[in-house]
């Protein structure tokens, strides 16, 4: 018998190896199944509803006919204003935590609080938004109140993703700046930000685009049940796709089946477009990395 022949033990280990590979592979495929089913169903049932008219006309006849134009526009408004509010706040906080804050118990406590804030249920954020923005600041139910509520909700993820981008810039660059007499801000402005801004922006867009589908935080703060006009300012109420989907699926009798599917497909389409844009942007910038 050759010394390189498989022994009983080798054979047994090989059988185990095969078993575990199959097990883990099977789990992975199971994971993909729901995604495929959802996307396929949406396309099959909602696809026929999509048309130029669907995107560019308002719902009509008690929301049983027509399109999604005001809701589509409203969703874009809400997400855009939320972005404008959360980016400066989140980036500033992340800059402080990553570049200025000393590593002590207070900083660690703040970091912990931020992570926990990400776990607060969206309905709680909604009620906070009503109390803070609608009532206390007197914004009323408006795009502004809804967007600010969404912004608060996404702040934790914006901070975390920004901090990761900042910390991806090698420490040696900061040390080089400081050793020449640069202040923290001079190091940030000249070296850290130029080398992380792309990562920060793509990360932020990616995170905020996820809020496109949020319903609870906006339904008490700014999204309207039915409002066939377009909003003119951030102090107007507006329709939104997510709430519209909820309404026509559960609150209105006699809606033909293809309508909610069409709305769902549109909603998913927006998320996919935003995500792929930001992933493509990131891949493009990663290609031009400077070190």
């Amino acid at each position: 018998m050759s010394m390189f022949q498989a022994t009983e033990l080798n054979e047994r280990n090989k059988r185990k190896e095969k078993l575990f590979r199959l097990l883990f592979g099977g789990m992975t495929i199971l994971l993909i199944v729901p995604v495929v089913v959802i996307v396929a169903t949406l396309i099959a049932r909602g696809g026929p509803a999509l048309s130029w008219d669907f995107f560019f006309t308002a719902p009509s006849n008690g929301m049983t006919e027509g399109g999604v134009f005001p809701a589509l526009v409203g969703t874009l408004w809400i997400v855009a204003v939320a972005l404008i509010a959360s980016v400066p706040l989140g980036v500033a906080a992340a800059l402080y935590l990553s570049e200025y804050a000393p590593d002590n118990w207070l900083t660690r406590l703040i970091n912990l609080a931020i992570i926990n804030l990400a776990g607060v249920p969206s309905i709680v954020h909604a009620l906070f938004g009503v109390g803070a923005f609608v009532l206390f600041f007197r914004f009323g139910t408006s795009i502004l109140a809804a967007s600010l509520t969404l912004a608060i909700m996404t702040l934790p993820v914006v901070i975390v993703s920004t901090r990761e981008s900042l910390q991806a810039v090698p420490r040696a660059f900061r040390e080089a700046c400081w050793s020449m007499g640069a202040t923290r801000w001079q190091a940030i402005w000249n070296v850290v930000l130029p080398n992380s801004i792309s990562g920060i922006l793509t990360g932020v867009i990616l995170e905020v685009s996820r809020t496109v589908g949020e319903t609870a935080p906006i339904m008490f703060t700014g999204a309207a049940f039915f409002l066939p006009f377009l909003p003119e300012s951030v102090f107007d109420q507006t329709m939104a796709l997510s709430l519209h989907l909820f309404v026509i699926s559960t609150q209105v009798p006699g809606v033909p089946e293809h309508l909610p599917y069409g709305v769902a497909l549109t909603l998913m389409g927006i998320v996919v477009v935003l995500n792929s844009a930001s992933i493509a942007f990131r891949a493009y910038l990663r290609g031009k990395k400077k070190w």
Partner: protein, 257 residues
């Protein structure tokens, strides 16, 4: 005994702690102006800690505590009223791994200059500053056609030379070098050593090294440290031929460290 101003760096009873760990014990050193002084000793002996104390870069770690003082050209840099950015202007630092900024070669040279000058000089003057600094480190001929190219794509040797060059436009007094050749191959090491030798006289250079041969051939005076204390400080030739302490002799001959 030399005059006071003959010393570029003078430390008095310098003690330094990282948290509870004491890294320097009553370090009293007088480093003469315009020469190259090498600091040698086994890892953890405090030589890098001392070097970093001279431009106070140690302080960015919140848990560092010091007592005693360090004078640069007769002026206390540890005093309350001292402006850190001025200390760092007069005391430049070269790191172990070349760390040019991820900017163009030109911007790397002008970085420190711009930090320390409120007014922007004319484009012609800026070009002059860049050329002068790059000529001083013998890099001009190699990079003159690619000044807007990325500094981080240069060879390690060129990067390290650039890191020296970027300190020169602000006219520092002291250049601190923390094992500046340890990331370089032997040829690059020779080239950078030669450059450091050329800068001698105009600048006071304090260099930490693990390389005995380098300390021996490329320094005027040598300081041997062990366990946070200065054991011996003498002319390099003297130390390597005739060390005063047994520990020094043992270290130089490679019996430990």
């Amino acid at each position: 005994m030399a005059e006071l101003a003959d010393y570029a760096i003078q430390s008095r009873d310098l003690n330094l702690w990282y948290g509870d760990f004491q890294a320097l014990f009553d370090v009293n050193l007088a480093i003469r102006r315009g020469i190259i002084t090498a600091m040698i000793g086994p890892s953890g002996c405090g030589k890098s800690t001392f070097l970093r104390s001279v431009n106070r870069i140690t302080e960015r770690l919140g848990y560092v505590r010091t007592t005693g003082s360090i004078d640069v050209l007769g002026q206390d840099i540890t005093a309350e009223v001292v402006e850190l950015t001025q200390v760092r202007k007069h005391v430049g630092m070269v790191f172990q791994r070349p760390n040019p900024l991820p900017l163009s070669i030109r911007k790397n040279i002008l970085f420190a200059y711009d930090l320390h000058h409120a007014e922007r000089p004319s484009a012609a003057q800026r070009d002059e500053i860049v050329e002068k600094a790059l000529r001083q480190v013998l890099l001009w001929d190699q990079v003159k056609d690619d000044l807007d190219g990325k500094a981080t794509t240069l060879s390690l040797e060129a990067q390290q030379k650039l890191c020296i060059a970027r300190l020169l436009p602000v006219k520092p007094t002291v250049l601190l070098m923390d094992e500046p050749c340890s990331a370089l191959d032997p040829e690059a090491t020779a080239a950078v050593e030669e450059l450091i030798w050329d800068l001698r006289g105009e600048y006071t250079i304090l260099i930490v090294t693990h390389n005995m041969a380098q300390a021996r051939r490329a320094s005027d005076e040598c300081i041997f440290m062990l366990m946070g204390k200065v054991l011996e400080h003498s002319e390099t030739a003297e130390m390597f031929v005739n060390p005063a302490k047994k520990e020094t002799a043992d270290y130089i001959e490679g019996r430990y460290g």
